[in-house]
Amino acid sequence: MLLSPLPMHIPDGFLSVVVSVFFWLISIGGIGFALRKVNQVIGEREVPLMGVLAAAIFAGQMLNFTVTGGTSGHLMGAALATIIVGPWAAILVMTSVVSIQALVFQDGGLLVLGANIFNMGILGVVLSAMVMQFIRKIFQNRKKYLLGGSFIAGWLSIFIASLAAGLELAISGTSPVQIAVPAMAGIHALIGIGEGLITLGAVLFLYINRPDLVTHPNEAKNANSGIVVAGVILTVLLAVLSPLASSHPDGLEWVAETAAFLNFAKESTYQIIPDYLLPGLHNEAVATIFAGLIGAVIVFGVIFVMMNQRKKQLPQRETDFE
């Protein structure tokens, strides 16, 4: 069921609860802000547009091209959505895409959905909007602006989002920072080229066939200095912070330990029983495994019995159904 094979949809269990909750709060704030903006500037026509566009981006993630030796380029779509409907609606579109991937297709977890929405939805869109604003200032020529902007926006949205994902994994203690951040950044610097090229191709196609869709593009809606400032801050923070963190893992370990301190359960057990190890090593461990297994059998048994009871009752239940 790997519909979007970007290795960026973090599954549940890979981020600590503190990190998950933190990114939920940030994403809720971002989505709330986007909703307010969309309600202000966008007409009734855009509701179906956002829905169908989200479905198209989901489907568009299936389109791929071979790069070399079994690897392939794919589309995430944050930059494309931003160019077509502007940043605020694009945040809602990408939030919908990432949410359905998690809710229905288990592509990314539910508890970590806030972090995934932040990486692929909010961060991707804010960065793309920032790039488009900058490039518009540089190129007066519309076509050059659109094409150059779409490639850079596509690449940067993937690259920075992957840095964010790497840092989130590292802060959660899931992957050592010296490995998580450079690995994510390295892979996605390449994947980002695919994203940039597909985005460029798509924008070129739209520019040739329906220039009104990409050239009038809500420039009034896009013109927002706030998003540029946010984009610059996020880029600098992530692009500067992550190499720093991966070369000085102690700093990040400190952050992780502070987070783990809040998440008392995780670390306290580690320190209180340091030799609480794997099965077969201590009799203690064997005993606890047995306890667990017995518990498991009881739970399973109770539910099984309940199930059988229900099966017997089922014919009668249908008659006394409200």
């Binding site: 909703l35 389109l63 977890g109």
Partner: protein
Amino acid sequence: MSNSQPLNPYIQLESPAHRLDSRIKLSLVFVYILTINLIPHAVWVVFPILFSVNLSLAVVSGIGIKKLLKRSLWVLPFVIAVFPLLFSIRGNTWFEITLLGFSFTASWEGLERLLSIVLKAWFSIQAAIILVSTTKFEGILKGLRWMKIPKLLVAVIGLMWRYLFVLVAEAKRLLVARSSRSSDLPDFHSGGSMIWRAQVTGYMAGNLLLRSIERSDRVYMAMLSRGYDGEVRMDNDRVLSRKEIHILLIGILICVCLFVLSLYFGGAF
């Protein structure tokens, strides 16, 4: 692509899990996944309990254990991301290997952390699979509304779902068209450079978006002709019965018990 697999993971069956109100189900799955993730690492006692809860749910909901295990297996590739922990966490030495002149020490503590993370991820994904196999998407939308997700966002998600299958079919047609245009001979590789291939794919994406935008115009017209005035309206949901509230509370209580149990065995008190 995943042609063989039906896109919609819902399995039409009759079971207590299917009958349970989707609002309760969605909330309980969230609470359950939260509990799984709150459990400290390496408290092995709790893990078989969680596993058996999932397996029992698979039996109760009629999905079947085999299907649940098969579907949840694809969390495996992510093990690669956690694998370095084996060597990066210092502790009692398990084994040492020398690669390219570097020596790596695997620790038992690293193995514990690795196993805990992978198992938690696996159990969480199983819970999510049980949710979507027993709940129609309309039910999930109802649950989202009940959780006070803003109406506009729920409306966009709902519309997205409605047109998802249409657009996935469009994307598949584009892929079929491309592969029928680009035939390969055994000794002769067709097609151009990487840039050229990327551009073709980009055009396909642009094509897909153009079709979707034009479709959204038609959808808008259809909505207008049925009296859409820009306001997103949703049906009022039935009030939850006392029994359903009790099920929710009991479910939360069981999760709390599991968490306390894990703290107890983890040595927190």
